[in-house]
Protein backbone atom coordinates (compact mmCIF):
# COMPACT_ATOMS: atom_id res chain seq x y z
CA UNK A 1 0.00 0.00 0.00
CA UNK A 2 2.89 2.22 0.78
CA UNK A 3 4.31 1.66 -2.69
CA UNK A 4 1.01 2.39 -4.34
CA UNK A 5 0.81 5.74 -2.60
CA UNK A 6 4.33 6.61 -3.62
CA UNK A 7 3.50 5.75 -7.23
CA UNK A 8 0.50 8.07 -7.25
CA UNK A 9 2.41 10.75 -5.40
CA UNK A 10 5.35 10.67 -7.77
CA UNK A 11 3.14 10.87 -10.77
CA UNK A 12 1.13 13.74 -9.40
CA UNK A 13 4.22 15.63 -8.40
CA UNK A 14 5.82 15.17 -11.78
CA UNK A 15 2.80 15.60 -13.95
CA UNK A 16 0.57 18.11 -12.23
CA UNK A 17 1.93 20.93 -14.35
CA UNK A 18 -0.04 20.11 -17.42
CA UNK A 19 -3.76 19.57 -17.52
CA UNK A 20 -3.41 16.92 -20.19
CA UNK A 21 -1.07 15.01 -18.03
CA UNK A 22 -3.37 15.50 -15.08
CA UNK A 23 -6.17 13.95 -17.06
CA UNK A 24 -4.04 10.94 -17.80
CA UNK A 25 -3.06 10.63 -14.17
CA UNK A 26 -6.68 10.73 -13.05
CA UNK A 27 -7.37 7.97 -15.53
CA UNK A 28 -4.47 6.03 -14.16
CA UNK A 29 -5.34 6.53 -10.49
CA UNK A 30 -8.51 4.40 -10.19
CA UNK A 31 -6.88 1.74 -12.27
CA UNK A 32 -4.05 1.54 -9.81
CA UNK A 33 -6.32 1.28 -6.81
CA UNK A 34 -8.44 -1.39 -8.41
CA UNK A 35 -5.98 -3.70 -10.14
CA UNK A 36 -2.33 -3.19 -9.44
CA UNK A 37 -0.52 -5.02 -6.79
CA UNK A 38 2.09 -3.05 -4.91
CA UNK A 39 5.14 -4.70 -6.45
CA UNK A 40 4.01 -4.11 -9.99
CA UNK A 41 3.22 -0.48 -9.28
CA UNK A 42 6.60 0.03 -7.72
CA UNK A 43 8.39 -1.57 -10.63
CA UNK A 44 6.49 0.44 -13.16
CA UNK A 45 7.05 3.62 -11.20
CA UNK A 46 10.79 3.09 -11.44
CA UNK A 47 10.58 2.35 -15.14
CA UNK A 48 8.46 5.43 -15.82
CA UNK A 49 11.05 7.48 -13.95
CA UNK A 50 13.91 6.04 -15.91
CA UNK A 51 12.57 6.14 -19.46
CA UNK A 52 10.00 8.91 -19.54
CA UNK A 53 12.42 11.60 -20.58
CA UNK A 54 13.98 9.42 -23.26
CA UNK A 55 10.56 8.60 -24.70
CA UNK A 56 9.67 12.27 -24.64
CA UNK A 57 12.87 13.18 -26.44
CA UNK A 58 12.30 10.66 -29.20
CA UNK A 59 8.69 11.75 -29.68
CA UNK A 60 9.68 15.42 -29.60
CA UNK A 61 12.32 14.91 -32.28
CA UNK A 62 9.81 12.95 -34.37
CA UNK A 63 6.97 15.45 -34.12
CA UNK A 64 8.76 18.72 -33.26
CA UNK A 65 5.65 19.48 -31.20
CA UNK A 66 6.24 20.02 -27.49
CA UNK A 67 2.63 19.44 -26.36
CA UNK A 68 1.98 16.59 -28.72
CA UNK A 69 5.16 14.85 -27.60
CA UNK A 70 4.08 15.20 -23.99
CA UNK A 71 0.61 13.81 -24.68
CA UNK A 72 2.09 10.92 -26.66
CA UNK A 73 4.59 10.16 -23.90
CA UNK A 74 1.78 10.00 -21.38
CA UNK A 75 -0.28 7.83 -23.71
CA UNK A 76 2.70 5.56 -24.18
CA UNK A 77 3.19 5.12 -20.43
CA UNK A 78 -0.52 4.53 -19.96
CA UNK A 79 -0.52 1.80 -22.61
CA UNK A 80 2.62 0.31 -21.13
CA UNK A 81 1.00 0.26 -17.69
CA UNK A 82 -2.12 -1.43 -19.04
CA UNK A 83 -0.03 -4.10 -20.74
CA UNK A 84 2.63 -4.34 -18.07
CA UNK A 85 1.36 -7.72 -16.91
CA UNK A 86 1.72 -9.13 -20.43
CA UNK A 87 5.32 -7.94 -20.83
CA UNK A 88 7.37 -11.13 -20.82
CA UNK A 89 10.80 -9.56 -20.93
CA UNK A 90 11.76 -10.95 -24.34
CA UNK A 91 13.28 -7.59 -25.20
CA UNK A 92 14.58 -4.80 -22.99
CA UNK A 93 12.01 -2.49 -21.38
CA UNK A 94 13.25 0.46 -23.41
CA UNK A 95 12.82 -1.46 -26.66
CA UNK A 96 9.30 -2.41 -25.62
CA UNK A 97 8.45 1.17 -24.64
CA UNK A 98 9.94 2.51 -27.88
CA UNK A 99 7.86 0.08 -29.84
CA UNK A 100 4.72 1.38 -28.14
CA UNK A 101 5.82 4.97 -28.79
CA UNK A 102 6.44 4.24 -32.48
CA UNK A 103 2.99 2.67 -32.80
CA UNK A 104 1.32 5.63 -31.10
CA UNK A 105 3.14 7.96 -33.44
CA UNK A 106 2.06 5.90 -36.46
CA UNK A 107 -1.56 5.96 -35.32
CA UNK A 108 -1.37 9.69 -34.83
CA UNK A 109 -0.11 10.36 -38.36
CA UNK A 110 -2.62 7.95 -39.82
CA UNK A 111 -5.46 9.75 -38.06
CA UNK A 112 -4.11 13.11 -39.14
CA UNK A 113 -3.92 11.96 -42.73
CA UNK A 114 -7.58 11.00 -42.57
CA UNK A 115 -8.47 14.40 -41.17
CA UNK A 116 -7.43 16.03 -44.41
CA UNK A 117 -8.95 19.38 -43.58
CA UNK A 118 -6.41 19.88 -40.82
CA UNK A 119 -2.83 20.82 -41.34
CA UNK A 120 -0.59 17.82 -40.76
CA UNK A 121 1.70 19.63 -38.35
CA UNK A 122 -0.37 22.11 -36.39
CA UNK A 123 1.80 22.69 -33.33
CA UNK A 124 5.14 21.70 -34.84
CA UNK A 125 8.00 24.06 -34.17
CA UNK A 126 9.75 25.62 -37.13
CA UNK A 127 12.99 23.98 -38.26
CA UNK A 128 15.05 27.09 -37.51
CA UNK A 129 13.55 27.34 -34.06
CA UNK A 130 14.34 23.69 -33.39
CA UNK A 131 17.96 24.25 -34.34
CA UNK A 132 18.29 27.14 -31.86
CA UNK A 133 19.00 24.71 -29.06
CA UNK A 134 22.68 24.27 -29.56
CA UNK A 135 24.88 23.99 -26.48
CA UNK A 136 28.63 24.60 -26.50
CA UNK A 137 29.18 28.16 -25.36
CA UNK A 138 32.95 27.60 -25.53
CA UNK A 139 32.77 27.90 -29.31
CA UNK A 140 33.08 31.21 -31.08
CA UNK A 141 29.96 32.96 -32.32
CA UNK A 142 30.92 32.32 -35.91
CA UNK A 143 31.42 28.61 -35.40
CA UNK A 144 28.17 28.41 -33.46
CA UNK A 145 26.27 30.15 -36.25
CA UNK A 146 27.75 27.78 -38.79
CA UNK A 147 26.87 24.78 -36.64
CA UNK A 148 23.34 26.09 -36.18
CA UNK A 149 22.92 26.39 -39.94
CA UNK A 150 24.13 22.82 -40.40
CA UNK A 151 21.74 21.55 -37.73
CA UNK A 152 18.89 23.40 -39.42
CA UNK A 153 19.86 21.68 -42.67
CA UNK A 154 19.73 18.29 -40.95
CA UNK A 155 16.25 19.12 -39.58
CA UNK A 156 15.09 20.06 -43.07
CA UNK A 157 16.26 16.74 -44.44
CA UNK A 158 14.83 14.81 -41.49
CA UNK A 159 11.36 16.25 -41.99
CA UNK A 160 11.45 15.14 -45.62
CA UNK A 161 12.45 11.57 -44.80
CA UNK A 162 9.89 8.79 -44.92
CA UNK A 163 8.36 7.77 -41.61
CA UNK A 164 10.54 4.65 -41.29
CA UNK A 165 13.73 6.37 -42.35
CA UNK A 166 13.11 9.18 -39.88
CA UNK A 167 12.40 6.76 -37.05
CA UNK A 168 15.51 4.71 -37.75
CA UNK A 169 17.66 7.83 -38.18
CA UNK A 170 16.46 9.41 -34.93
CA UNK A 171 16.82 6.20 -32.93
CA UNK A 172 20.37 5.78 -34.21
CA UNK A 173 21.66 9.34 -34.22
CA UNK A 174 19.73 10.96 -31.38
CA UNK A 175 19.07 8.01 -29.08
CA UNK A 176 22.31 6.24 -30.04
CA UNK A 177 20.67 2.83 -30.10
CA UNK A 178 22.26 -0.29 -31.53
CA UNK A 179 20.97 -1.60 -34.83
CA UNK A 180 19.61 -4.71 -33.15
CA UNK A 181 17.67 -2.56 -30.67
CA UNK A 182 16.29 -0.42 -33.49
CA UNK A 183 15.28 -3.55 -35.35
CA UNK A 184 13.46 -4.85 -32.27
CA UNK A 185 11.74 -1.51 -31.66
CA UNK A 186 10.59 -1.01 -35.23
CA UNK A 187 9.82 -4.65 -35.97
CA UNK A 188 12.10 -4.58 -39.02
CA UNK A 189 14.99 -6.86 -39.82
CA UNK A 190 18.48 -5.60 -39.09
CA UNK A 191 19.26 -5.50 -42.81
CA UNK A 192 16.25 -3.31 -43.50
CA UNK A 193 17.22 -1.03 -40.64
CA UNK A 194 20.72 -0.69 -42.13
CA UNK A 195 19.21 0.08 -45.52
CA UNK A 196 16.91 2.74 -44.16
CA UNK A 197 19.71 4.25 -42.11
CA UNK A 198 22.18 4.35 -44.99
CA UNK A 199 19.60 5.98 -47.23
CA UNK A 200 18.70 8.52 -44.56
CA UNK A 201 22.39 9.32 -44.02
CA UNK A 202 22.90 9.64 -47.76
CA UNK A 203 20.07 12.12 -47.96
CA UNK A 204 21.45 14.09 -45.03
CA UNK A 205 24.84 14.12 -46.72
CA UNK A 206 23.28 15.42 -49.92
CA UNK A 207 21.29 18.00 -47.96
CA UNK A 208 24.38 19.26 -46.20
CA UNK A 209 26.42 19.25 -49.39
CA UNK A 210 23.87 21.23 -51.34
CA UNK A 211 24.04 24.12 -48.87
CA UNK A 212 27.53 23.70 -47.59
Amino acid sequence: MKRKESFGCVNLRRLSASDKVMAAVTTLEPMITSTANTNTAGEFDAIAHEYRQQLYRFLLSSTRDVDLAETMTQECLLKAWRNWSSFRGDSSVLTWLMRIAINIQKDHWRNRRLQFWRSTQVGAVDVDEASDWLPGNERSAEVRLLAKEKVAQVWKVVQKLSERQRTVFLLRIVEEQELSEIAASTGLSEGTVKAHLSRALARVRVGLGSKG
Binding site: R57, Q153, W155, V174
Partner: protein
Protein backbone atom coordinates in the same frame (compact mmCIF):
# COMPACT_ATOMS: atom_id res chain seq x y z
CA UNK B 1 6.83 -0.34 -56.74
CA UNK B 2 9.26 -2.87 -58.19
CA UNK B 3 11.91 -0.19 -58.61
CA UNK B 4 11.50 0.80 -55.01
CA UNK B 5 11.94 -2.80 -53.84
CA UNK B 6 15.06 -3.19 -55.97
CA UNK B 7 16.40 0.10 -54.69
CA UNK B 8 15.84 -1.06 -51.12
CA UNK B 9 17.52 -4.38 -51.89
CA UNK B 10 20.54 -2.59 -53.34
CA UNK B 11 20.70 -0.29 -50.38
CA UNK B 12 20.55 -3.29 -48.04
CA UNK B 13 23.39 -4.90 -49.94
CA UNK B 14 25.46 -1.75 -49.95
CA UNK B 15 24.57 -1.25 -46.29
CA UNK B 16 25.92 -4.65 -45.56
CA UNK B 17 29.11 -4.07 -47.51
CA UNK B 18 30.09 -0.69 -46.08
CA UNK B 19 29.24 0.47 -42.59
CA UNK B 20 26.33 2.87 -42.82
CA UNK B 21 27.15 4.15 -39.33
CA UNK B 22 30.50 5.44 -40.39
CA UNK B 23 29.98 8.94 -41.74
CA UNK B 24 32.96 11.15 -42.50
CA UNK B 25 34.37 13.42 -39.79
CA UNK B 26 32.62 16.55 -40.94
CA UNK B 27 29.27 14.86 -41.04
CA UNK B 28 29.88 13.22 -37.69
CA UNK B 29 30.44 16.65 -36.17
CA UNK B 30 27.20 17.92 -37.67
CA UNK B 31 25.31 14.87 -36.43
CA UNK B 32 26.80 15.35 -32.96
CA UNK B 33 25.60 18.94 -32.98
CA UNK B 34 22.20 17.75 -34.12
CA UNK B 35 22.05 15.21 -31.27
CA UNK B 36 23.14 17.79 -28.70
CA UNK B 37 20.60 20.33 -29.92
CA UNK B 38 17.78 17.76 -29.69
CA UNK B 39 18.90 16.76 -26.20
CA UNK B 40 19.07 20.39 -25.06
CA UNK B 41 15.71 21.23 -26.57
CA UNK B 42 14.10 18.15 -25.06
CA UNK B 43 15.62 18.91 -21.66
CA UNK B 44 14.31 22.47 -21.74
CA UNK B 45 10.86 21.45 -22.94
CA UNK B 46 10.61 18.63 -20.43
CA UNK B 47 11.34 20.89 -17.47
CA UNK B 48 9.52 23.97 -18.73
CA UNK B 49 7.01 25.64 -16.41
CA UNK B 50 3.45 24.90 -17.39
CA UNK B 51 0.26 26.87 -16.94
CA UNK B 52 -2.83 25.32 -15.41
CA UNK B 53 -5.12 28.29 -16.03
CA UNK B 54 -6.24 26.87 -19.33
CA UNK B 55 -9.27 25.25 -17.67
CA UNK B 56 -10.85 28.64 -16.84
CA UNK B 57 -10.58 29.75 -20.44
CA UNK B 58 -12.10 26.49 -21.49
CA UNK B 59 -15.14 27.04 -19.23
CA UNK B 60 -15.64 30.53 -20.64
CA UNK B 61 -15.27 29.31 -24.16
CA UNK B 62 -17.69 26.48 -23.57
CA UNK B 63 -20.29 28.82 -22.07
CA UNK B 64 -19.92 31.23 -24.93
CA UNK B 65 -20.16 28.41 -27.43
CA UNK B 66 -23.34 27.13 -25.77
CA UNK B 67 -24.89 30.60 -25.72
CA UNK B 68 -24.09 31.19 -29.37
CA UNK B 69 -25.34 27.74 -30.21
CA UNK B 70 -28.67 28.40 -28.46
CA UNK B 71 -29.09 31.75 -30.22
CA UNK B 72 -28.33 30.11 -33.53
CA UNK B 73 -30.76 27.27 -32.87
CA UNK B 74 -33.57 29.70 -31.91
CA UNK B 75 -32.80 31.80 -34.98
CA UNK B 76 -32.96 28.80 -37.25
CA UNK B 77 -36.23 27.64 -35.68
CA UNK B 78 -37.83 31.07 -36.02
CA UNK B 79 -36.64 31.40 -39.59
CA UNK B 80 -38.23 28.06 -40.30
CA UNK B 81 -41.49 28.76 -38.46
CA UNK B 82 -42.18 32.28 -39.81
CA UNK B 83 -42.67 31.33 -43.49
CA UNK B 84 -44.76 28.36 -42.41
CA UNK B 85 -47.01 30.65 -40.42
CA UNK B 86 -47.24 33.10 -43.31
CA UNK B 87 -48.17 30.27 -45.58
CA UNK B 88 -50.76 28.78 -43.27
CA UNK B 89 -52.59 32.12 -42.63
CA UNK B 90 -54.48 32.31 -45.98
CA UNK B 91 -55.36 28.66 -45.64
CA UNK B 92 -56.82 29.38 -42.21
CA UNK B 93 -58.81 32.32 -43.59
CA UNK B 94 -60.15 30.14 -46.36
CA UNK B 95 -61.06 27.47 -43.84
CA UNK B 96 -62.96 30.04 -41.74
CA UNK B 97 -64.73 31.26 -44.86
CA UNK B 98 -65.76 27.72 -45.72
CA UNK B 99 -67.13 27.27 -42.23
CA UNK B 100 -69.00 30.58 -42.33
CA UNK B 101 -70.39 30.11 -45.85
CA UNK B 102 -73.31 27.77 -44.93
CA UNK B 103 -74.36 30.18 -42.19
CA UNK B 104 -74.49 33.00 -44.71
CA UNK B 105 -76.48 30.87 -47.13
CA UNK B 106 -79.02 30.19 -44.41
CA UNK B 107 -79.41 33.89 -43.53
CA UNK B 108 -81.02 35.18 -46.83
CA UNK B 109 -84.27 33.42 -45.90
CA UNK B 110 -84.72 36.05 -43.20
CA UNK B 111 -82.88 39.00 -44.66
CA UNK B 112 -83.23 40.70 -48.06
CA UNK B 113 -81.26 38.93 -50.75
CA UNK B 114 -78.01 40.53 -51.68
CA UNK B 115 -77.97 41.10 -55.42
CA UNK B 116 -74.95 41.00 -57.50
CA UNK B 117 -73.84 44.41 -58.82
CA UNK B 118 -74.20 43.30 -62.44
CA UNK B 119 -77.75 42.15 -61.88
CA UNK B 120 -78.58 45.48 -60.22
CA UNK B 121 -77.14 47.42 -63.14
CA UNK B 122 -79.17 45.42 -65.68
CA UNK B 123 -82.35 45.93 -63.70
CA UNK B 124 -81.76 49.67 -63.45
CA UNK B 125 -81.24 49.91 -67.19
CA UNK B 126 -84.45 48.01 -67.87
CA UNK B 127 -86.33 50.22 -65.49
CA UNK B 128 -85.01 53.34 -67.14
CA UNK B 129 -85.92 52.21 -70.65
CA UNK B 130 -89.33 51.14 -69.47
CA UNK B 131 -89.88 54.50 -67.78
CA UNK B 132 -88.82 56.32 -70.94
CA UNK B 133 -91.27 54.30 -72.96
CA UNK B 134 -94.02 55.10 -70.50
CA UNK B 135 -93.09 58.76 -70.62
CA UNK B 136 -93.23 58.86 -74.38
CA UNK B 137 -96.54 56.96 -74.42
CA UNK B 138 -97.99 59.30 -71.83
CA UNK B 139 -96.65 62.34 -73.60
CA UNK B 140 -98.26 61.24 -76.87
CA UNK B 141 -101.67 61.10 -75.30
CA UNK B 142 -102.21 64.87 -75.34
CA UNK B 143 -105.43 66.70 -76.01
CA UNK B 144 -106.25 67.36 -79.62
CA UNK B 145 -105.66 71.04 -79.21
CA UNK B 146 -102.10 70.38 -78.26
CA UNK B 147 -101.37 67.96 -81.13
CA UNK B 148 -99.48 70.46 -83.35
CA UNK B 149 -97.16 71.34 -80.51
CA UNK B 150 -96.49 67.68 -79.82
CA UNK B 151 -95.55 67.15 -83.44
CA UNK B 152 -93.17 70.06 -83.29
CA UNK B 153 -91.62 68.53 -80.19
CA UNK B 154 -91.15 65.22 -81.95
CA UNK B 155 -89.54 66.93 -84.90
CA UNK B 156 -87.12 68.77 -82.62
CA UNK B 157 -86.22 65.54 -80.92
CA UNK B 158 -85.57 63.80 -84.19
CA UNK B 159 -83.31 66.64 -85.32
Amino acid sequence: MKDKAEELKQAMQSGGAENPLDPDDEMRLVLDDFRMSVHAWSEAAYHRPRKISAAEHRVWRRTLAWALGCVLAVGVLLTGIYPLRQKSQPEQTARVAVVQAPEEVAKPAVQTPVQAPVQVAVNTQEDESWMTKVDSDVSRQVPAAMEPLAQLLNENESE
